[in-house]
Symmetry: C2
Subunit: 436 residues, 2 copies
């Protein structure tokens, strides 16, 4: 085959950038044959000679003159799912930037790719323009991955670093992010950690051979993080970031510590990140992914979103496909690095590994409050490494107090917090985060 | 072919790690058939069933039961060169960690690989365990690369960050690095920037399509950096790092700024790195590479040396080869991303791009010294943005003074310094660095 014939579905910011770069021969030998859009009459500022425009998206999956369908529509279901399914059944390769689709239907689609000997690639679905999928699946091909730590959502990272530098509150900063176009009108998907969880589930699948499923990820968003948490964090030499973590749960027994045994733990939650960690330096909309392995720890950082960054990853996938197909390679259609039949079943949500915890409470200004709190913590086997108490805030009748605990299970923290919330010395606005 | 048959030449720290991991099936289907070592009787703590050990390295290039020669001997010439040449002529693939070899003989070896339809891969030759070659050549395949900034030598970065944190001098810190095993007994190759220049020339070849040649890289080592430079740097909100830079020289004229025209500029030299740059946060023996492109800027960081890190990259190359060969792919034997016939000729050393400069002088404590200096700088069109003068150091009759210049050509700085050194107000120990 001389030329890789491309059909692009969805010509928004990313799709337009992909099209313009392909027209400029960013991938030698790849030509656009069809483009599917919602409004065929809209002027997009570029023309594609010899390509057909259509409003019937599924046409791309049937067209004889299309080898690769580039899905840039988005959404976990609906037309994106129909298109990718049909394209694979019709033995067309698929390049997609759609994390929601893969986090929900990845197993089914990977099976379709295998059965039809097609490639389904998705570099753009995780961490935008940073080639993390390639680094993980090829650059660290021979490594045993122990842990992934990522800052996978630019919206949350922007909000948290703005709160940090401006001393502002969450709601106020969210509005700024919305005005700047870094957060959607309905920001739920980003700020509640769902987007990061979807991306993490894809990295986990490749790293640990588990069926991707966003529901396996313990997910907590950033809306409980308050301006005062940054002040306390600074005092502990730390910052606050929404960290996506996945690791093999280490089974400790008397005789050995095994890292190959055990289940996979996946979590997305705000964390206190010590400034000694490279992730603490990741600011604004930047994304970063750190891989800890048996041979090497590496980190990649760059823009996690934006038209050009996402297009860069889509085009890299197209360039790979172009290379494969030109060379007549018998394709390895393993979407998550191995056959779906070898992927371990989704395990459901699992408890995160024990860690140190940051707990912030608001104590009512009454005698004996602190004694009551510390005794309840002790009852739940939560032992305290550091405690900091502040004076009453803004004339209110409450005092913020923060504890850094020794290493313990999250369940102990949650049980202790539940018990604390039931007693009368705690005011509202409790927050807790693991320390990493 | 069911199994990829490997011959390893050189079983030191890296070779042993590669062997042990291959024995543990880190790359499924790859088996070690032969190992070439200097001393066949040495106990290496592992055995390789069914493999032959030999002291005749060239045997690997002739053996019928070897598909891939893994060259871990090192050195730009000698047996490493003989082995790689012979292996390619005999149509065997080669994986090497040898930057010196490729920076000197890369063009010849790339031609041999092309003519014999073999792969010559070298992920481990640049930035150790960080998959930078893959990120650049595949992950950014469709990108137009504008600039590469790298911290490519762990020895220098360790020395510079030690000097920074301890306030110690260069010689003293070099000894510490030697004691810790981070610097060789003869440290020239590392501290004079030669190692970094070799690595940079390989990245430049891929990024800009130029024949790799370490002699094209303007190279200056770190031995002129003094403890006091770090104090001044701190005052300017900066640190000092040995930065390897390659970029397209932008041709500015009245009508346009073109980044595709112009020659490639390559330099390795100590730089004042502002703390706003992500490279300023890279400490110790860590390496980092930043790629600035038309679509995305990304940075990768991790260990640049060490047995396991280097082995990780060697094994990734072996895994890629395994994948290619299993799939019956018509191999693309382009060592630097395109045919050697398409590579632009080596251009010789070119002047680095204009930048701001840090200049440190020691003024003799005499009336009018500062006036003489500033007028000579002005005569050479070096205009000053900031100047800081300190009192006499340690009772000596000299005062360190530092200038941060406005943007200007390096030639202007060098001419000005030459003129300054000829006048009687300047004591020894002059230093200058670009500000990035």
């Amino acid at each position: 085959m001389d030329s890789l014939r491309i059909g692009i579905a969805g010509v928004g910011t990313v799709g337009a950038c992909v099209a313009v770069k392909l027209l400029a021969e960013a991938v030698q030998g790849a030509t656009i044959k069809r483009l599917a859009v919602r409004d065929i009459n809209k002027d997009r500022g570029f023309s594609v000679p010899e390509a057909q425009w259509t409003q019937n998206t599924l046409e791309l999956a049937d067209a004889d003159d299309v080898d690769v369908v580039v899905e840039l529509i988005g959404g976990a279901d609906g037309i994106a799912l129909d298109l990718v399914r049909t394209a694979l059944v019709n033995k067309k390769h698929v390049v997609t930037a759609n994390k929601a689709l893969l986090a929900k239907h990845g197993v089914e689609l990977a099976e379709l790719a295998e059965n039809n000997n097609c490639i389904l690639s998705y570099e753009a679905a995780v961490a935008g323009g940073i080639p993390v999928i390639k680094a993980l699946s090829e650059g660290l091909a021979a490594n045993n991955i122990y842990r992934i730590n990522g800052i996978l959502n630019g919206t949350c990272n922007f909000i948290l670093t703005e709160m940090e530098t401006k001393g502002a509150g969450y709601e106020e900063t969210l509005h700024i992010a919305q005005e700047l176009g870094y957060a959607e009108a309905d920001p739920t998907f980003d700020v509640e950690g769902i987007d990061a969880a979807q991306k993490l589930s894809l990295l986990s699948a490749i790293a640990f051979g588990q069926k991707p499923n966003e529901n396996d990820v313990t997910t907590r968003g950033i809306s409980d993080v308050a301006a005062i948490d940054f002040e306390f964090a600074e005092g502990f030499g730390a910052v606050i970031r929404l960290i996506a973590r996945a690791e093999k749960k280490i089974i400790e027994d008397a005789s050995s510590i095994s890292s190959s045994a055990g289940e996979i733990v996946q979590a997305v939650e705000p964390c206190l990140v010590r400034k000694s960690s490279v992730l603490s330096g990741i600011s604004g909309v930047t994304n970063a992914v750190q891989f800890e392995t048996d041979m090497v720890d590496v980190m990649l950082q760059g823009p996690g979103a934006g038209g050009e960054a996402t297009a860069s990853a889509v085009l890299a996938d197209i360039a790979d496909l172009n290379q494969f197909i030109k060379s007549g390679m018998q394709i390895s259609p393993y979407v998550f690095g191995r056959s779906v039949s070898e992927l371990v079943a989704s395990q459901g949500e699992t408890e995160v590994m024990p860690s140190q915890w940051y707990i912030r409470l608001n104590l009512k200004d009454a005698p004996g409050s602190m004694a009551k709190v510390t005794s309840i913590l002790a009852e739940h086997n939560v032992s305290i490494e550091e405690a900091v108490q502040r004076g009453p805030q803004n004339g209110e009748d409450r005092r913020p107090v923060v504890f850094i605990t020794h290493k313990c299970e999250k369940s102990a923290i949650k049980n202790a917090l539940e018990a604390l919330e039931a007693i009368d010395v705690i005011a509202k606005d409790v927050n807790y985060m693991p320390v990493i």
